[in-house]
Symmetry: C2
Subunit: 98 residues, 2 copies
DNA sequence: AACTTGCGAAACCGAATGGTTGCATATCTT
DNA sequence: AAGATATGCAACCATTCGGTTTCGCAAGTT
């Protein structure tokens, strides 16, 4: 089970979860209420996100609060870097043309 | 076969292809030489990348040159936007702390 | 102590994924 | 014209994926 952040964000539901808990920590049940699938399915997604360290847990009694590990997302940004220089170059070329 | 850009970049090989052809257009054969899998496997990856419009083709005789559609990659950047504001906020908070 | 609730883990299932081999076709080269 | 080369496509296969159902357990509630 090779997991990396790019596989993690490949799934639509996982991306939605990320957006959902970006601003406030939430329990699996609360998260699952926003989707049409079962709590267990969401739990599996959370497991994957946790394994990739995109999400962190905080236990509070019998509840577990999940929140976004924003730092990790920078890795995607970092990967984009190589292309960013290209699209900026394109922009400059267009700029010169005008 | 629901394809989106996030699924496209989920695969390690496809990301490598993107990097490879970012600066210069290449033929499937030339691309395949950089990997351990068959030309056909690479061809399938190129098909997926083409369907997602991450890559564009240009036929030249019997050769097909594949090159990166940099604009499309901005979509990932756009998605990152929502989190960028958060990590900048975190940075500012840290800044105030210091 | 008995019940309820929040959660993860395992077993199972159909669909998708990434790879291979084997073609068919179009374009060069001789 | 005959052969070599570049490529896409289809069929097949093992593995992974996303989902469900079922279960077990820990932590609250009565």
């Amino acid at each position: 089970m090779r997991r990396d952040i790019f596989q993690a964000i490949a799934d639509q539901t996982r991306r939605a979860i990320m957006t959902l808990i970006a601003l406030q920590a939430m329990t699996p049940n609360a998260i699952a209420e926003n989707f049409n699938s079962t709590r267990q399915a969401i739990s599996k997604h959370l497991r994957i996100l946790t394994e990739c360290e995109i999400v962190k847990q905080e236990q509070q009694g019998r509840e577990i609060y999940y929140s976004l590990e924003v730092e990790k997302i920078k890795e995607i940004d970092k990967w984009l870097e190589q292309f960013r220089s290209i699209w900026e170059t394109n922009f400059n070329q267009l700029d010169e043309l005008l």
